[in-house]
Symmetry: D3
Amino acid sequence: MLRLSTPGYERFVQAQQFEVNYGGGEANVAVSLANFGMDSCYVTRLPKNDIGDAAENELRRYGVNTEHVLRGGERLGIYFLETGASQRASKVVYDRSHSAIAEVAPGMVNWEKALDGAQWFHITGITPALSASAAQATIEAVAVARKKGVTVSCDLNYRKKLWTREQAEKTMTQVMQNVDVAIANEEDAEMVFGIKAGETDVHAGKLDTAKYQSVAEQLMKKFPTLKKVAVTLRESLSASDNNWSAVLWDGSTFYQSRKYAIRVVDRVGGGDAFGAGLIYSLVSGKAAQDALEFAVAASCLKHTIPGDFNHVSVAEVDALIKEGGSGRVQR
Amino acid sequence: MLRLSTPGYERFVQAQQFEVNYGGGEANVAVSLANFGMDSCYVTRLPKNDIGDAAENELRRYGVNTEHVLRGGERLGIYFLETGASQRASKVVYDRSHSAIAEVAPGMVNWEKALDGAQWFHITGITPALSASAAQATIEAVAVARKKGVTVSCDLNYRKKLWTREQAEKTMTQVMQNVDVAIANEEDAEMVFGIKAGETDVHAGKLDTAKYQSVAEQLMKKFPTLKKVAVTLRESLSASDNNWSAVLWDGSTFYQSRKYAIRVVDRVGGGDAFGAGLIYSLVSGKAAQDALEFAVAASCLKHTIPGDFNHVSVAEVDALIKEGGSGRVQR
Amino acid sequence: MLRLSTPGYERFVQAQQFEVNYGGGEANVAVSLANFGMDSCYVTRLPKNDIGDAAENELRRYGVNTEHVLRGGERLGIYFLETGASQRASKVVYDRSHSAIAEVAPGMVNWEKALDGAQWFHITGITPALSASAAQATIEAVAVARKKGVTVSCDLNYRKKLWTREQAEKTMTQVMQNVDVAIANEEDAEMVFGIKAGETDVHAGKLDTAKYQSVAEQLMKKFPTLKKVAVTLRESLSASDNNWSAVLWDGSTFYQSRKYAIRVVDRVGGGDAFGAGLIYSLVSGKAAQDALEFAVAASCLKHTIPGDFNHVSVAEVDALIKEGGSGRVQR
Amino acid sequence: MLRLSTPGYERFVQAQQFEVNYGGGEANVAVSLANFGMDSCYVTRLPKNDIGDAAENELRRYGVNTEHVLRGGERLGIYFLETGASQRASKVVYDRSHSAIAEVAPGMVNWEKALDGAQWFHITGITPALSASAAQATIEAVAVARKKGVTVSCDLNYRKKLWTREQAEKTMTQVMQNVDVAIANEEDAEMVFGIKAGETDVHAGKLDTAKYQSVAEQLMKKFPTLKKVAVTLRESLSASDNNWSAVLWDGSTFYQSRKYAIRVVDRVGGGDAFGAGLIYSLVSGKAAQDALEFAVAASCLKHTIPGDFNHVSVAEVDALIKEGGSGRVQR
Amino acid sequence: MLRLSTPGYERFVQAQQFEVNYGGGEANVAVSLANFGMDSCYVTRLPKNDIGDAAENELRRYGVNTEHVLRGGERLGIYFLETGASQRASKVVYDRSHSAIAEVAPGMVNWEKALDGAQWFHITGITPALSASAAQATIEAVAVARKKGVTVSCDLNYRKKLWTREQAEKTMTQVMQNVDVAIANEEDAEMVFGIKAGETDVHAGKLDTAKYQSVAEQLMKKFPTLKKVAVTLRESLSASDNNWSAVLWDGSTFYQSRKYAIRVVDRVGGGDAFGAGLIYSLVSGKAAQDALEFAVAASCLKHTIPGDFNHVSVAEVDALIKEGGSGRVQR
Amino acid sequence: MLRLSTPGYERFVQAQQFEVNYGGGEANVAVSLANFGMDSCYVTRLPKNDIGDAAENELRRYGVNTEHVLRGGERLGIYFLETGASQRASKVVYDRSHSAIAEVAPGMVNWEKALDGAQWFHITGITPALSASAAQATIEAVAVARKKGVTVSCDLNYRKKLWTREQAEKTMTQVMQNVDVAIANEEDAEMVFGIKAGETDVHAGKLDTAKYQSVAEQLMKKFPTLKKVAVTLRESLSASDNNWSAVLWDGSTFYQSRKYAIRVVDRVGGGDAFGAGLIYSLVSGKAAQDALEFAVAASCLKHTIPGDFNHVSVAEVDALIKEGGSGRVQR
């Protein structure tokens, strides 16, 4: 997907240039994993034109294997982004209809081949939201992955500008039949499956962490293949200041991470950075609490980097966990 | 007026580029009103050259009617702006002498015609500060407005680099004879008319809101045509962090707004955004407290937008009032 | 030295442009002193090419006398800088080996002539860290300065990427034989001479100021020529927020400065700005407490200015001391 | 339409920023006419989002009346532009499907009202190429214009990436039934109607001007409402150097313009600038040769201005005609 | 003077940034001479504000001595510049009235002191054009220079936007009483003194070089102190392509330079670069033909450099003269 | 290698930003081949830091396999570039000493493994010029390549700022013992081996093509493994305008290419683009004349693209050959 964002804090009506970034949920996870040193392969569909080339190049640049990217379709999906500040929220204008990936359909990707030798398959709730055929292709993909014994993670990622809650529930219920690890933000479970964290108000700038154990339990009960449920908890004090933490439920223990008070540079991709951190940690065999802390620290750092991608190494995440983010210059 | 500002937080001696913005007190109010969907007409005098054209274009761009703009005079007034941060204040170097508007004189503008059909006329204390003839033209304008039954608002806007307190008092006393709604910041009333808010120290980063009722009462007593007095209260913790609120006195009730803790992107034009918010609210028939909250919320948002103009819609202001500025991405 | 920094908060792997600044410890002090209106002369060695010309020009631009700059050697030292934010620290990649100044050797500079008529000579611990010959040249310089009765200040400035603690201790012990005023940050004395401020953890974001009296006392005891020891105390809450203060010990009284909570724009050169503020104050005959406050206020302002140099005037520093950094626009 | 172009001469795969311009055939003509001081009104359909707002603002900025612009539909059409140089041609990637204007349909625009009081109506062959319904809407528009006695001009503007020659011929034949003034470039007539200028090879960098009389005659014969046919003749020596001239046939006389050797800054919109120059001239009552020279000179200047719009005044065009383009600084 | 120019080839109405340069006739000459390694001192009057500081810094940066610069007055003169291309001429909007230097008056500068030890004094016809008092100050300056035995050069530099031909003739006639070397462009002598080069049309893109001998002879006859007259000959084929040469008359021989066909990057300051090249050459004792070739080659190179200043060394000018401008990369 | 270039046509002393590109002879060839759709693998040595990462990423971005890149050594080589215009040549300041690749030594790269399965190995005369050990490593590489039956091409690429003609001759004579295809520019053979093309003066802007047959013959005679010799012929009219063609000698026939008159955007990498075009053509089995035309056309296009890399596809090169570079917009 092509992200076109206004420079500085300009509003759309002021902008004479757009910053060009290529990203999107699964792409962000793929780049982050490659930055962590893992073999990372991204499957999508890009138009056969120069804009599609540029998107593929950007993934290759950061070490992602693009050999299974399909080239075809009409256009690359676009989202316009205006970065908020203080009381003014960031604003997104979607222009994703009729994109190459929105028109993906079951059978287009040879999942048997693409997943050959894979250890983990990650999907988000954004892709099935793009169109009915994309939803079917997503359902197909997770089914093949499961059949092949590949661990499947899914980030619910509800996007109200792409589909209704009813549509989301129907599709995601099917997707979740084959998922091992579920990832959600503080309101996804409620939006998609109506699972509430008690009376929590996500606009209040303060979340009741303990209540998310119940959210995780309910999700796990609803989808028996789930082995782990992770929920990121963003306390949005303003567009400039966020508190960031997460919880993890493995069916028996409820883990809570450290909470980071972040001055936000670019929060887009924060959830994806968390997902990548979690996948890396679990594949690497970290214990649950360590995995959660790694994922939260990794995604904390993402908030300080412009663009969708999380350009941090394992060593940098470890340093944050160990030294606590005092931000002293390294020289 | 042409605003030339250094990029980022560069100081003047470092700058190799200037950002170009066209603005100024009344222009900012006009654009803000147009953004709120009102018919907004701006009257000024611009030189008959390409720089004057660019200034007029910028107003048209945002929907302001410029048919009464006079074209003539020597030059467009300039101010150079260096954006401060933390303990370093923003710095302004004025280069406004001999500007086309500074050389405006009574009789130049056909106010009878310009104000035909107008509902509201807004003026600031900056224009009469530019020159003796501009002061006379301002006095003329408000007199005609009053005669035609147009509601007149005036933002005191004291600028110490443009005139002395004595000059300001003399002229503004005349201007205020025909004003219905006065707007001032936390120190304007003292600077211009010697009306103090008790012992308040505007540099202390904390203002005693209650004391401003007395300021408003004294103003209203001094100028009997006044029906409302609004005072914006900026608690400047640093160039990067301001608290922002306002009060309104309608002769019988003292209204206090919510207070916003703002991370400042660009505070220039904050007062004008308040003025526009107030005018919009009063023209729209909002109740006093609602009008005040709208004006404060609108001007809070201005602080997050680069340039002089407040590019926000009524819906965005309403959302801030309702949702409280948590700055969650809208997508 | 050439500083190449990524724009905005970009990481190195993202950057398509580098911002160009010329600076470095002693150069920063020289420019700051020139900005304070003092006659300031900078001695270094620059390659005889266009990059060396550009470096020399930048110093001249800000009023520094460059007549004693040697031109020769292979290359200009470079450091690549990535500006951190929030939990992500700024990152420096040094590329300084084989630079013209690293290859300076005793006898190359005619210190007798360069220091003729000088009142003060300032050196940092970075220059001797560059190479063995640069270390010898530094030792030579301070010896000549002392012989000529020039007051010598030295900023310990330990750089772990340039030399080991053992190397630093050995060389700096020699340098310090001829120093009148020592400047250090909160960890330099420990890094170079093993002098600890009790149990203070510089990563904890909170420093125990009182403990630095003992650090100063120990330094003064170790180096009997010392008349004053100043220590800057940075509490690094994050890369975006620092507390900044300093202490001064004159052998009998322990002075503590006001503490500033800073939103950081660019913290590189903060220590040099402190050094320049202290030198200016002492040369100007300020009392110890006033000198300390001036130096801290000056360096506080540096943190708000992009680049290495501290572009502030004496009047601006005095205003911060007097008005307290509320950051109100001056217009 | 949103034009996203790479900065400098960067190729798409290199670009990290896109320059933002809003334009398109008829919009370019409208802005040019407004710059000539005429009342100019633009009718199109823009999505009801911030990107649509920005497009409308850009037209208002340059004085175009936008009151008849429809707001609705899914998205704003986009074209990506890479500016060529020397032997490398400029490259366009279209992303215009499903745009608000592509989905315009007969009956959506109230042409009776939009054309009330209009003197001239201009359309290009790009709009009907966008979709079948847009083609019908175009046919509707010219029919209403004719019925109301408004002069109609049509720029054939064949775009091979939007439709086939067969589709173009079928639709444009209908459009041309109600056209008074036809405008074409050196290959449009052949592409759309198979009308050849003898053996001319448009890639050869040299055109046989005289042969275009026959093209004009054939067009006029085929479409009896035509009163004038103008053909622009671009001799493309390279992407950097073009020769530019035009011919005009009024049914009895064949007029040939001066030829300009242009160093190209931005040739997009050159044809539209010609159209606007011709319309202005004819509305102003210029004689045929003068009208042609004005149109060619105006569009020559367009090639020197970045973006789609021709920001030149009547005085500047007249000066070029009179002084011959020596490019001496005016100071 | 502050030059604010639009980036790329943007027109004023498009610009959102201005490039900042500080320059002006005499300043340009001073910088060029410093770049040639000469002691160069610039005398002017700058306002006592940050914009004035920036202007002075820029001169210091390039090695010009600014110790005789007066600081005072209201504002720094500004000119807005739009760089032309091909048939579109560059455009200048002056905003120089009431500038600090325009308000200079006889007696303000201590010329006795400023010229102490000077070998050469250079003035242009722009300074006396700024105001009557500036004209008087110029007349005073050249008189003092002559009295002290300093060689005086004057570049006629007629600016029609600053004064009339009558005003220019009256003042320049007085100035020229004390001038040793006159410099003019192809039309200055006619504009100021009515001395024509026969029938030459400066807009025709081709000049008859031989006719300028008569111009020089007439000038020398009119002003008996003249020892040399140099005339630069610009054949402006377009704003992008100029031919550039010059002639020199020393009272007995007429020297003609090589002619350079230049692709123009920035032609502002071309004449000043010629003046500096001539002064350098004559001070260095070059023979007349060599001096002329050096001056023309130096100023040819200026056309390839953005900004007013000619950043070239003596070695680079010599290389052009010797190798002929083939532009092969030096690596 | 890191290329730091000034923006626009700025000189080094003016630049406040540098454009960042990663390139260098063999890297440029590798990227170009990947752009032509070939499997392309680049072998070099990069430092183990973020700057080295960025360099490797840039190659991956454009599809080059970097698995054999060694990571180690002190620094990445840098060259500073100032782009010339018209009579001002581009200027290069090298800062390449002590770079990771300069310190490469025989045995470091496992050439047996790196060349496994390779069809072609390309080297330039720049790498052995970096240091004595790099020269030995180059000699080692070509020897292994020959032994493994890999075709070897070598671009002589003489750089006078890196070594003397004597050093070059000695080393290159050894390298050339194992080369199949030699590539040189119009002066390389003379510079390195003293083989002259008769009286040709490369500064004269016109080359006598026929004379290069003798150059090729002499080279082939001197180095019996050579099967083909290609020479690029640049006629540098100025830094802005070059004529570009090439010749090829295969031992029996002398082929001459079409000549392109190029308006130069960025000529760095032009020779490498030729090399890549030739390798692609020969690997693809094109006939000699076709191969030469492809290589010349490909490298002609390179001159229009900023940066070192030639971002063109086979289709684009073919189109230039077929359509002749008229530069008509493709839309």
